[in-house]
């Protein structure tokens, strides 16, 4: 079963996103040990959309589907320029604290925690779509990142 909702482009939407994941996990019997990682990925991807696509007021659509051993989540963002999150550079975690900056840490983290992340951009519809999977037995997406679609780009 698919659980879905649209969220206003605001950090104030984050608690409602967490409520949606909790609802989907409870109803579909998804392993609760995956919940924090799924919430983290959703927050990082959603806040990225809010911060970097500022010329649209379109709501962000979130869909959550139970799969074998885990969950698949899709975020769809309309009327935006492409931004391929799978191509964002890793953070250099060996830098001394004076040189550390918080930027980019979210995407760096979720690539290590998720099984897979896919990015798709429709130039015709100006639509970004990110799909990620997390299973109890999966391996990190940092080893299995994929992208597809009509056009991909990274700022």
């Amino acid at each position: 079963m698919t659980t879905s909702a649209a969220f206003k482009r605001s950090f104030d939407s984050i608690p409602r996103i967490f409520a949606l994941t909790a609802e989907a996990f409870a109803r579909d019997g998804i392993d609760p040990r995956l919940l924090h990682t799924v919430d983290l990925a959703l927050e990082e991807l959603f806040t990225n959309m809010v911060k970097y696509s500022t010329t649209t007021d379109a709501a962000v659509q979130v869909e959550i589907v139970a799969i074998e051993d885990g969950v698949e989540v899709t975020l769809t963002d309309y009327d935006v320029e492409p931004f391929d999150v799978t191509q964002a550079p890793d953070v250099d975690i060996t830098l001394p604290i004076e040189q550390r900056r918080p930027g980019g840490l979210g995407l760096h983290l979720i690539r290590r925690l998720l099984d897979s992340i896919e990015y798709d951009y429709s130039k015709e519809k100006r639509r970004s779509r990110i799909t990620f999977r997390k299973t109890q037995s999966g391996s990190p997406a940092s080893r299995r990142v994929a992208n597809k679609g009509e056009e991909n780009a990274c700022d």
Partner: protein, 97 residues
């Protein structure tokens, strides 16, 4: 929901979820800290990069004046997050028992 409070002995306890919506309020609290502070994370359920940014900014400020934050009661999940982000190199971390 996030709750941050001082505890006896000068430490700080944090409980709930430190996400992007709560990070500004957390930063306001952490901006008041001085010296070396033990932050009890045993009731911290969740942290995102926005929350890590609050810790990083505070650690930089405190180190500059000879202090620091020590993280205690760190759960397995939080420990993974700290490790993947390299924060285990810049914070003293004590795992939950």
């Amino acid at each position: 929901m996030l709750a941050i409070d001082f505890v006896d002995g000068g430490g700080v306890t944090i409980a709930g979820r430190l996400d992007a919506a709560e990070a500004p309020r957390a930063q306001t609290f952490f901006d008041r800290l001085e010296g070396t502070v033990t932050l009890d994370c045993s009731r911290l359920e969740y942290i995102s990069s926005a929350g890590l940014g609050v810790l990083l900014k505070t650690q930089k400020r405190l180190l500059a004046s000879g202090g620091k934050i020590r993280l205690t009661g760190v759960s397995s999940h939080l420990n993974d997050i700290l490790g993947y982000s390299g924060f285990d190199r810049i914070f003293e971390v004590e795992r939950a028992r």
